[in-house]
Symmetry: C2
Subunit: 351 residues, 2 copies
């Protein structure tokens, strides 16, 4: 089965929708579809020593990846991992603290870059590749496996700031300062991301998604330099190794810059946050596939409000190259039955 | 002097720039120009019993408003107050807790609205009007006085959520639910905002700004309903009372929707957050004046990076209807000398 699907990837609806308009019903997966809203995820999380253990133990991480697939007929599994793992792979000390999320020993200047080692990435992240392989072996034939990484700007934001919050002011100031040290950090992250995603693809990922969660913190010229250009480089380098690899990127809150992003990065599909109006989303479909963009609060709410918002998206976007998704991740307070209903709405869609 | 300026408001550069393109040098003021980056503000804050005391004592609030004007040749003073004061004026219990910001007893449904009383607004907010009058009397002849209020959606977000953070999920869900109670809350806030700004104008404010700080949390249809439409109603109602009143609105992170906002609200000037690309900003000048949009982190950074970013904005926008400002408020760690330098750059601009 694995051999067949890697020779003919286009039999999977999600992979077809990246290249062909109007795949019916439109494929669906959800950002953070593996996560705290699922009781079985919370049980697994309690078994793991800590969050890093959950990410780095292939048995746990594969289980977390597969859990939502057992409940819902989704079109993709997305590798269970976390953005800052690549920083850890490069040798930056990473810790998860209760109620605070990832905490890194901050990189603040060119000299600090000496702490990072590209050559460590594959060895340290080998357990992630093992997770990918295990998931691939266990996946239903119609379900695509998406690998992922943070995009360089968002990774740099965490690595420089050291933790979430404060609008990543230290990272922005270093980026704005003109210091070549920041260029060097981004260049290193381009290489590291290519290696990391290459490792995931070799282990069985059939598409990859780059998360640029903090793209919306940059003014346009900085966005062009730190979000568009590095992703374009990653696309070129990955395509040199894997010419047919579908690449999705999610530049959250890119605003007006999303058009430039779709034109200049060369990605196959742009993930849309929930603020992108559907008229602009439809216009983007001339340049790339689009993925999105239901506000996750509709999924918490459920009922007619969720149904209307989902149908609105389907009516405007399903005739183009389109993957249904949220405009941000599933939130922990989401009722499981609302996820089931949303998948049913999208699965049942015909036009 | 007061009489002269209210008969001929157009002698003040900021008021002229709202209606006429290419005012040279372009007028400048800064969001949060009164605030923690100023040592004299911190001293004043320490004298006040708490933050509410600082806002509600006209001697303190007027002093806070005037402090930045003593240091920098700015073109406007903006009333020192805080968004949630209007909720307090309506009778919702408001508290400021150290390190947490405003905390309100949440309004969660139509029944909770009975706690709010429009008729209380003028009596409870009379000290704010007194602050406006004191500032007006003390202001240099060339400096305009800007009154302000939160826009209905952002006020509602605080009033429903009860505090900042968590992406105002409860407020969004109520807004998305279709419950007429949320429409009633917004309708009440439209009326309350009109009364509050009317009170400020009668006390001497020469222009007003509506802050929609959380506009960027809404998908496009919700943005049209909860950000555009209520502000359009406020504009119509305020203009019925004050036909020449200049109205500025700042829909932060509106993304693509900023064009619709400029077209449909009828405001004189749209405040631009730092993500709005200058090419779109220049296009907006055909529809309204624009104000913005330097990233406040450039002001922390100073030096050549700040100068280049400021000059870029001036080159692209100063020939249209334009007020120089930041794309978000001054942050506490801003060096005072960088603010002085920025004002000097804008003051010295000729093209």
């Amino acid at each position: 089965m694995t051999a067949t699907t890697s020779i003919r990837p286009s039999t999977k609806p999600l992979l077809r929708a990246l290249r062909s308009p109007g795949v019916m019903p439109p494929p669906i997966w959800l950002m953070r579809q593996a996560g705290r809203y699922l009781p079985e995820y919370r049980a697994l999380r309690d078994k793991a020593a800590d969050f890093l253990d959950l990410c780095y133990r292939p048995d746990y991480a594969a289980e977390a990846t597969l859990q939502p697939l057992r409940r819902f007929p989704l079109d993709a599994a997305i590798l269970f991992a976390d953005l800052p793992l690549l920083a850890d792979g490069l040798g930056q000390k990473l810790d998860y603290r209760e109620g605070e999320g990832p905490v890194l020993e901050p990189i603040r200047n060119g000299a600090d870059l000496k702490r990072l080692r590209l050559e460590n990435v594959h060895r340290r992240l080998a357990p992630v590749y093992e997770t990918v392989a295990r998931v691939k072996a266990a996946l239903p034939a119609e379900v695509a496996l998406i690998g992922f990484s943070g995009a360089p700007w968002t990774l740099a934001a965490y690595m420089v700031q050291g933790r979430s919050g404060a609008e990543f002011a230290a990272a922005k100031r270093w980026a704005f300062s003109g210091d070549p040290g920041f260029d060097a950090l981004i260049a290193l992250l381009v290489e590291a991301t290519v290696e990391y995603l290459d490792g995931q693809v070799k282990a069985g990922a059939e598409a990859v998604q780059l998360f640029d969660s903090w793209a919306g913190l940059l003014p346009a010229p900085a966005f062009a330099r730190w979000c568009v250009r590095p992703v374009a480089e990653i696309v070129t380098k990955l395509r040199a190794r894997h010419p047919d690899l579908p690449i999705i990127a999610f530049p959250r809150n890119a605003g007006f810059m999303i058009e430039t992003y779709a034109e200049q990065t060369g990605v196959d599909c742009v993930g849309l946050d929930y603020t992108v109006p559907l008229v602009q989303a439809a216009a983007l479909q001339a340049k790339s596939a689009v993925q999105g963009n239901l506000d996750p609060q509709y999924l918490v709410l459920g009922g007619a409000a969720m149904e209307c918002a989902a149908v609105d998206i389907l009516e405007r976007l399903a005739k183009g190259r389109f993957i249904f998704n949220l405009g941000h991740g599933v939130v922990p307070e989401t009722p499981v039955e609302n996820v089931a209903r949303l998948v049913e709405i999208v699965r049942g869609w015909r036009r």
